[in-house]
């Protein structure tokens, strides 16, 4: 039996009269990799904020790992096991890459600093950042910053990893390399939710795909079936024609 790791129950969120999340229900099993697509402004990043705790829903509940976390602040949800990478990287620019990871490891897992060294070195190796360990994070290229976002989130040892448009802006080759890393992370047992516009990258990792439009779930299920849904194609062609 698979355990349900994340459960959203009738979650609503409005900014003024604009409904960004409109009655969202979602149950995600441990070990799954869920991809989310949808047009700009469909409410994808808002959904991440509701899951990670940056926003509180107007109505509905968020449960994680069997506990209601609706009222928990961001840092407590991180302790509970929700790791998040931002769409626009937020590096600690004046700290080294290694120190960036140490923050996540030492505070996300609440261990002593020294106990985190080995784990951080291992994550640097896995994410291809080891050579840059002593560089200030502010000096990294876009690809490296995106890798750092992910590496830092991994350092908190998340049960659930939220990736927000991590492949956006990368070249084809960079994108392929990143996909390989994400596949490895998933294979190691981490549950993943990945928001991405670059569908082929997404489909090479996820086993389940959800489409959001106007804050509502349009379709959810097997990636191929979802992509074949005429309604999805209509919306999706709409954005790829831009």
């Amino acid at each position: 039996m698979q355990q349900t790791l994340l459960e959203l129950n009738d979650v609503h969120k409005s900014f003024g009269s604009f409904k960004v999340t409109d009655g969202m229900n979602l149950a995600l099993d441990e070990g799954q990799a869920l991809g989310i697509i949808g047009p700009n402004g469909a409410g994808k990043s808002t959904l991440f904020n509701l899951i990670a705790g940056g926003l509180k829903p107007d109505q509905g509940t968020v449960a994680f790992d069997g506990k209601d976390v609706t009222q928990q602040p961001v840092h407590q949800r991180c302790h509970a096991g929700i790791g998040r990478s931002y769409q626009i990287p937020h590096p600690f620019a004046n700290m080294s890459v290694f120190e960036n990871l140490l923050v996540g490891a030492a505070f996300g897992t609440r261990r002593s600093e020294v106990d985190c060294y080995d784990g951080c070195i291992e994550i640097l190796r896995r994410t291809g950042l080891l050579k840059k360990a002593n560089k200030p994070a502010g000096s990294l290229t876009l690809l490296e910053r995106k890798r750092l976002e992910m590496a830092r989130a991994l350092a908190t040892e998340p049960k659930l990893l939220l990736l927000d448009e991590i492949a956006g802006g990368l070249t084809e080759q960079e994108c392929l390399a990143l996909v390989g890393t994400i596949q490895d992370i998933h294979a190691a047992g981490t549950t993943i939710i990945w928001i991405e516009h670059i569908v082929h990258a997404l489909l090479s990792v996820v086993g389940r795909l959800m489409v959001i439009d106007f804050g509502k779930k349009l379709d959810d299920g097997d990636p191929q079936e979802v992509m074949d849904n005429p309604k999805v194609q209509e919306i999706y062609m709409g954005i790829s024609a831009e």
Binding site: P91, Y117, A153
Partner: protein, 344 residues
């Protein structure tokens, strides 16, 4: 100075060649400073005392604003409170003056907790103004207390002054060493904080609050701790300042210009968000003040011009500029990963 940690092929180190050199120089300066009262004149002694308390105030404001992002313009609240607590403890509770200096800091730290819970509701510029308002409230409040001299203030009774030391030179020597101790302790505290696990969260909050939050850093708790610690030490410095002055009044104690504006100038000029910055800033401030002492109000105009030019040309301050250009770190707080190959 050698913090090492062995992993399989890596070790984590903090010290650099410049920092080892700096440690030797620091030790030499410290020894020189300890010898000062035995050969220098009164004026020199007083200047170093003042230097020491400005340096401590600057370290504390830097911890607050440079690391925790709490830009307070109301630190005079804690200088004044510290000063008044000294008078209260020494006069009404017969606490020996030097002990009262440190006890005052503890009481000020307690005062800082409800103050923090009030001003922490405000953000950014509103927070800054809020802290100023709180300081004004304290000033007006103490002006109402007639037993402490009301608006015109009071002097420390001669009997208590004699408790510090029997003669004037003995008193000055004791105050000198207390000031030196407080300055060294403030630098030491910030240095220790930054090298510990707390240093990671402080520098992380400085660079990005949003990311720190999602990586599990409790920002509220961290900021509260920084606010209370910095208030407590600012209070100790305040108590010492008025022990030296032997006289306190609300206007002198809760003075925005002396205890916060000058300190902000020091930190910004020297380099905010570094340990070295406040030290360099205090040096620059004292040099400018010495050179311009005879020019009256021109002095303030020059300080203002220096501040504006620095903010436009080198917003990271003198130390920020030098440290970036020459990769200098006198106080090594960064962790470096060392390995035989693999790393650049």
């Amino acid at each position: 100075m050698n913090t090492q940690m062995k992993t399989e092929q890596f070790s984590v180190v903090r010290n650099t060649t410049t920092s080892r050199g700096a440690a030797v120089v620091t030790a030499m300066i410290l020894i020189a400073l300890i010898s000062v009262p035995f050969w220098a004149g009164r004026a020199d002694l007083r200047m170093i005392i003042e230097f020491a308390y400005y340096l401590s105030l600057a370290q504390m404001w830097n911890l607050l604003a440079g690391y925790a992002g709490l830009v307070s313009i109301g630190q005079q609240a804690f200088v004044g409170l510290g000063g008044y607590m000294l008078f209260v403890l020494a006069i009404y509770f017969n606490v020996p003056p030097i002990m009262a200096v440190f006890l005052s800091g503890l009481i000020v730290a307690l005062f800082a907790i409800p103050t923090a819970l009030t001003v922490f509701r405000l953000r950014g510029a509103y927070f800054a103004i809020g802290t100023w308002v709180v300081a004004e409230v304290y000033r007006l409040g103490f002006a109402q207390v007639t037993t402490l001299g009301g608006g015109s203030g009071q002097s420390l009774p001669a009997s208590i002054v004699r408790e510090i030391g029997s003669g004037r030179s003995e008193r000055e020597m004791i105050i000198y060493f207390t000031a030196l101790f407080i300055a060294v302790a403030s630098i030491g505290l910030v240095y220790w904080l930054l090298r510990s696990k707390h240093g990671l969260s402080l520098t992380a909050i400085r660079d990005s609050e949003a990311a720190s939050d999602s990586l599990g850093v409790d920002i509220f708790k961290t900021k509260l701790a920084v606010y209370v610690i910095s208030a407590g030490i600012t209070g100790v410095v305040g108590a010492l300042i008025f022990l030296q002055k032997l006289r306190i009044s609300p206007d002198a104690a809760f003075n925005l210009q002396d205890w916060t504006a000058a300190v902000i100038f020091i930190v910004v000029i020297g380099g905010i968000g570094t340990i070295e910055g406040p030290i360099i800033g205090t040096l620059i401030y004292f040099i400018l003040r010495g050179v311009l002492a005879d020019y009256g109000s021109v002095y303030m105009i020059v300080l203002g011009v220096v501040a504006v030019v620095m903010m436009l040309k080198a917003p990271q301050g003198v130390w920020g500029f030098l440290s970036k250009k020459y990769d200098l770190h006198l106080f090594p707080v960064h962790r470096r990963l060392k390995a035989k190959d693999e790393l650049e």
